[in-house]
């Protein structure tokens, strides 16, 4: 049996992903995953420009390091998965 607050949290997570998602990505070439994609400007050492692509999705999706994720025309590799412990994962992406 799911605890009441956990059930509420899951419903909120579903609502967040359901209403605020901006991206349907393809995981490992076959599975569609809905989530929030962000590619903010970044710098390294204050010297090298780039960006910091991340994808937020439900933990229940089961994203794992090494998965591929196609967003638009770019195939990213999941470099790390940071779970927030409350049902959402932040996946750090590496570009080809």
């Amino acid at each position: 049996m799911t605890a009441p607050f956990a059930a509420l949290r899951d419903r909120i997570n579903d609502a967040v992903i359901g209403h605020l998602s901006d991206t349907v990505a393809t995981r490992n070439g076959t599975v569609s995953v809905v989530g929030l994609f962000d590619k903010a400007y970044g710098e390294s050492f204050g010297l090298i420009t780039g960006n910091d692509p991340v994808f937020r999705c439900l933990t229940s999706v089961g994203m794992a390091r090494g998965d591929t994720l196609v967003v638009g025309s770019t195939t990213y590799t999941v470099a790390g998965v940071e779970a927030d412990g409350a049902g959402l994962d932040l996946c750090r992406l590496e570009a080809p």
């Binding site: 010297l47 090298i48 590496e94």
Partner: protein, 142 residues
């Protein structure tokens, strides 16, 4: 007339331009962040001079001035980035130390010494890992 520091810095840039890995991507006193198209790159900047006996300048006696030159080797790649900067270092060493003419920048300095190679710095906060290998040279001139 340009100060010797400027002349030496520009001569180093000229000497390091055209190497196999970094090509024309050699920048002096670079402050603006580098784009992907500007990598891998070599950054050259001149540092301090540990002058002991600077008063010799007033007496007209010769004084050797050890000018520190910082050469940063930077690269960004999904893999092999440390190998890339090591290869760049090998190319820099050949360019500066393979002959007396190169080691003196055709007589501009007495010698260029490899003072130290600092720890490589790596960062994976961007879409690809980034590495910077700082190399400290010492150019002795009068």
């Amino acid at each position: 007339m340009a100060h010797q520091r400027q002349t030496i810095r520009e001569a180093i840039v000229t000497r390091l331009t055209g190497l196999a890995t970094s090509g024309s991507r050699v920048y002096a006193s670079r402050l603006k962040p580098l784009l992907d198209t500007e990598l891998p790159a070599i950054l050259v900047s001149t540092g301090g001079e540990a002058l002991d006996g600077a008063t010799y300048l007033k007496t007209g006696l010769p004084v050797n001035r050890p000018l520190e030159i910082r050469v940063d080797l930077v690269a960004k790649a999904v893999s092999g980035f440390e190998n890339t900067v090591d290869q760049m270092l090998a190319e820099v060493e050949v360019a500066l130390f393979d002959s007396p003419a190169h080691n003196t920048l055709a007589g501009l300095v007495h010698s260029i010494q490899l003072a130290s190679i600092l720890d490589p710095e790596m960062d994976d906060s961007l879409e690809k890992p980034v590495i910077r290998l700082p190399v400290i040279l010492r150019a002795v001139y009068s």
